[in-house]
């Protein structure tokens, strides 16, 4: 019998997720040995028509990374969904929009205008804009539509599982693939990473006082970071307490606070709101002015609390665009 078919695909993302597959190092050989990879943009040259040619459901699993920003990405997502038994949102962008979803704070026109006219490095006196359809002496070119909203994968197609992270750690990926290949699959919709917050894996946790109250938040460049002490105890906003584990506190190990790329735990419906709630609750200040001062160190709340999850914010997008 033939080996299970696996597809990787790359939508609105930096490419790190594609690379992260390679982070499996020698384990990659195990994977390659165990499966037929039918698509892997970063490594192999398969074409869309190859996929279209396949029967529906003939791909065992697709691991799709990146957010859905263009019509083309959306089409590919739908196509792969049709051809796959299991659709996995791979990485923060596919799971919840990721960095690209910051664009949800701007209207399409704002973005276009900046990119093709206003950005300092752009020289475009005719103010030419890309067209979705272009014809010249009988031949026509189609460009994908640039959407108004950046979406997570599950806002476009039905998703079976999520592998979180920016990018997912090899350990998480390996565990997911093993589950997949062994057929021992958790209930649909599960995020394939531990459902407890990162603090649990963080070596700094014990240095966090029981009765922590933060005088004021400060940004990482404003102080010399203690390499052992809990970041919150140093007055640095760390998303660890509200962010799903699985990375083994990689960033804190590198003396940087957690920024929340593994997304919320299963009982949280809005990552940013929850993070904000806990980080502000532990302040010391008791009246408006003092509280505002204490929060000066978080100048961009959206960028801080929704760094990887704008698409999954209950408001989804800046509402008045």
């Amino acid at each position: 019998m033939s080996k299970p078919k696996v597809a990787f695909y790359w939508c609105a993302a930096c490419g790190g997720c594609e690379e992260s597959v390679v982070d499996l190092a020698e384990d990659i050989l195990g994977v390659i040995g165990a499966v037929d990879i039918v698509m892997w943009p970063v490594a192999m040259d398969f074409k869309r028509k190859d996929i279209e040619a396949m029967e529906d459901g003939s791909i065992t699993a697709t691991l799709l990374n990146g957010a859905i920003r263009t019509s083309e990405q959306e089409e590919m997502a739908r196509l792969l969904r049709k051809k796959s038994q299991v659709m996995i949102a791979y990485g923060a962008c596919a799971q919840s929009g990721g960095i690209p979803a910051f664009a949800n704070q701007f209207a399409r026109e704002q973005i276009m205008k900046y990119v093709y006219e206003d950005s300092p490095t752009t020289v475009n006196p005719e103010k030419t804009r890309p067209q979705t359809h272009f014809e010249e002496n009988g031949r026509s070119v189609e460009l994908p539509e640039f959407r108004n909203v950046v979406r997570s994968l599950d806002q476009v197609v039905d998703v079976d599982y999520y592998i979180p992270g920016c990018a997912p750690s090899p350990k998480v990926l390996k565990a997911a693939l093993e589950a997949l290949l062994s057929g021992k699959l958790p209930p649909k919709g599960t995020v394939l990473s531990p459902d407890t917050a990162t603090c649990q894996d963080c070596s700094r946790l014990e240095s966090k006082p029981q009765d922590l109250s933060v005088k004021e938040y400060r940004r990482v460049h404003q102080l010399k970071l203690d390499p052992e002490k809990c970041f919150l105890a140093q007055g640095v906003a760390c998303m660890g307490p509200g962010t799903r584990g699985g990375c083994e506190a990689a960033c804190p190990k590198g003396n940087m606070p957690c920024t929340g790329c593994y997304g919320p735990t299963s009982k949280v419906i809005d990552h940013g709101a929850k993070l904000m709630s806990s980080l502000t609750s532990i302040l010391e200040a008791k009246e408006e002015a003092a509280i505002d001062t204490a929060l000066k160190g978080i100048p961009d709340p959206i960028g801080t609390f929704y760094r990887y999850g704008m698409s999954k914010c209950l408001l989804r997008r800046k509402v008045n665009l």
């Binding site: 919709g189 922590l212 307490p241 919320p264 419906i269 609750s281």
Partner: protein, 675 residues
């Protein structure tokens, strides 16, 4: 809503089919006049899970409650929604009705369509729609309710009374006489507090000692009372019914059980003459390093002052005291401070007050002119067992020809304390009366307002007026020794605007008495923290409710008695001490406390042990299990505010009756527009 929540929702009622009964109350015409109750009931019928929906004239009436009970049995209802008046009014009524019918009371949810709808609107159509929407929220919510039990916590019958003034003494005795175990902890070497220093008590003028000392010795001899003087509470853990208290017992250098209070050692002390400040007599007399605060002290046991005792200071002393003690061997210079751990169910805090330090008001010349006294000093001077054997004389041992009493020293004063100390007017009258009785002196009272509000107080004021005591209405500007006339020479002069006569007067006096006000104890804030109470802006302990819970504190099982809660005279103090004892007794005799189940709990497998919640809880109900490295909430200490739930960054804390999914569902459904 995200798929996670779908899980949760299904999780909450799982297999069992939800069968909701809905009851819309007319409340006579209170609701029905502004809400189309029939329409609302009809609307509810079609909502998911609803098997029965009625409107009824008076749901809270017996037949109304009976209706619910019957329906539960007949129609196998497992959820009840009542739309009527405010749940704050009748929630318990309908919970009980539900319970009587054998259904867990927390499957009943109540919403107000009276206070929040029919009574505040005039547009019947709009009001009816609002009622429907409120009800919709309740119906969706109740489906997610869970069976809950009130936790019962046994109440340890032992009581801790902190402070051995008249308040502590009275509540301790009341409890002990009721057969309860009492620990009475007093910081001083003797109990009795301020009252033991007084000579007489207003307005009846019975002698303080005569009424207090019997109670003091009763405390000592009572089999149910463990008395620890020279001791302080240093740590309090636990919660109502189960407090764990640590008491520090300072070394007295005397074995209390062996000392019989014969005072031979005091006579024998190497210091032939007393030469150290006698605190009990307000420094108006001297004592020796080994002393007994006052003759009727309880316990009648001497105490050695390490600061002045040669043996303890230098190690070199003939120790004639030990010789005098002889066979009794009560002395123990090796004594160290020791700690006692006790378990009690309730605590009565009666730590008393301090009087204002008149040095704060130099214009009255206290500490500058020797003939300026505090009222408490005069209490000692005029007291038969005091330093002058009860003779009121100046430092030159002359009887004063004129005595001035200045009211409101450190009371009703922007510069010191704004509040009225409540007792000064009356004790000033008392002193005036006694000075009249003891001497031929002219007595002047300088007052702002006379406050004689109490049983027999105004009458006492009149009596003192008739005795010829002078009353000058005006705030004294200064007490000076600057004599303008020969008559003033060598005496003190009070400069005051007589606001009734309307001019400034100079009134000479040989003794000036400052009626110093009452203040919180200097360490009130520490005590407050230790017992998890709060303080008013003045710094006195705050009662739970000024009228309806005057001896309760925000912390269950901890009660207040006496002036630590605010300035109080003896009658009020004793009354409050009795009330506090009764509150404690009520808890003890019930045997257990029931704790509302709307408490928070940690879902262990979801908790990352991040500690965020711990600092959220003002009741220290949340601790960290250092083995599992997870947070744990003690349901008995949790008061159910839910602050930790909202703060938990991973959503691992839930609050019974207010789970995220329950509140969110209610929010979502009340926002669905009905037509």
């Amino acid at each position: 809503m995200s798929h996670h929540d779908h899980e949760q929702k299904n999780g909450t009622h799982g297999a069992e089919e939800v069968r909701i009964g809905v009851y819309v109350c007319h409340c006579g015409s209170n609701i029905a006049s502004m809400v189309d109750v029939e329409a609302v009931a009809k609307f509810a019928k079609d909502l998911p899970g609803v098997v029965l929906s009625r409107d009824y004239k008076y749901m809270c009436s017996d037949p109304g409650q009976e209706l619910i009970a019957q329906d539960i049995k007949e129609h196998k209802l497992n959820r009840i929604v009542v739309a009527a008046c405010s749940p704050l009014l009748h929630e318990h009524t309908f919970r009980n009705a539900t319970k009587r019918a054998g259904l867990n009371p927390y499957f009943m949810h109540m919403v107000s369509i009276r206070e929040h709808a029919s009574w505040v609107h005039t547009d019947r159509a709009a009001c009816t729609i609002k009622a429907k929407e409120i009800l919709h929220g309740a119906i969706a919510r109740v489906a997610l309710h869970k069976a809950l039990e009130k936790a019962k916590v046994d109440v340890n019958p032992a009581v801790l009374v902190v402070g051995g003034g008249i308040a502590g003494i009275h509540s301790a005795l009341t409890l002990a006489n009721a057969g309860k175990k009492v620990y009475l902890v007093e910081r001083d070497a003797t109990i009795g507090g301020h009252m033991a220093r007084f000579d007489k008590t207003f307005p009846t003028m019975d002698c303080a000692a005569c009424i207090l000392t019997p109670k003091m010795s009763a405390v000592r001899s009572h089999p149910n009372i463990t008395l620890w003087t020279w001791s302080e509470v240093v740590k309090v853990d636990g919660y109502v019914g189960n407090f764990k208290v640590k008491v520090k017992r300072n070394p007295r250098y005397i074995n209390e059980d062996l000392c019989v209070g014969c005072m031979e050692c005091i006579k024998a002390c190497v210091f032939k003459e007393p030469k150290f400040t006698d605190e009990f007599n307000q420094g108006l007399s001297k004592r020796k390093p080994v002393y007994i605060p006052f003759p009727q002290a309880v316990p009648p046991v001497v105490v050695v002052d390490p600061a002045t005792c040669l043996k303890l200071k230098t190690g070199k002393c003939k120790q004639t005291c030990v010789e005098a003690c002889g066979e009794r061997k009560a002395f123990d210079f090796e004594q160290k401070e020791k700690f006692e751990e006790i378990q009690v169910g309730t605590v009565i805090v009666s730590t008393g007050f301090k009087t204002v330090d008149p040095h704060k008001l130099p214009l009255y010349g206290y500490g500058i002119h020797p003939e300026v006294y505090t009222a408490l000093e005069i209490e000692r001077l005029i007291n038969a067992s005091g330093p002058t054997g009860g003779h009121l004389v100046t430092k030159k041992h002359e009887e004063p020809k004129s005595v001035a009493i200045i009211h409101c020293v450190g009371s009703r004063d922007e510069h010191t304390n704004k509040w009225c100390s409540r007792v000064c007017c009356m004790y000033s009258l008392k002193l005036a009366h006694m000075i009249k009785a003891h001497t031929k002196a002219q007595v002047y009272n300088f007052y702002i307002d006379m406050r004689a509000a109490g049983k027999g107080y105004e009458e006492f004021y009149n009596r003192v007026l008739e005795e010829g005591v002078n009353f000058v209405r005006g705030r004294v500007a200064e007490v000076t020794d600057w004599a303008m006339t020969p008559e003033e020479e060598g005496r003190l002069v009070l400069r005051v605007e007589d606001t009734l006569a309307g001019f400034v007067r100079r009134i000479p006096a040989d003794m000036v008495i400052l009626a110093t006000g009452l203040e919180p104890q200097p360490d009130a804030q520490d005590v407050r923290r230790m017992f998890n109470m709060s303080c008013s802006t003045e710094g006195f302990f705050l009662e739970r409710h000024p009228k309806l819970a005057p001896v309760n504190t925000p912390t269950d099982g901890i009660f207040l008695a006496g002036a630590c809660q605010g300035p109080k005279d003896i009658p009020d103090t004793v009354a409050q001490a009795g009330a506090a004892a009764a509150e404690a007794l009520a808890l003890i005799d019930k045997g257990h406390v029931e704790i509302e189940p709307n408490t928070a709990f940690v879902v262990e497998e979801e908790c990352s042990g991040c500690k965020t919640c711990i600092s959220m809880c003002p009741y220290t109900a949340i601790t960290r299990d250092e083995v599992k490295k997870k947070a744990v909430i003690n349901p008995a200490m949790c008061k159910g505010c839910g602050t930790c739930v909202a703060a938990c960054p991973s959503g691992s804390i839930r609050q019974n009756l207010f789970e995220d999914v329950q509140v969110l569902t209610e929010i979502e459904e009340v926002l669905v527009r009905e037509s």
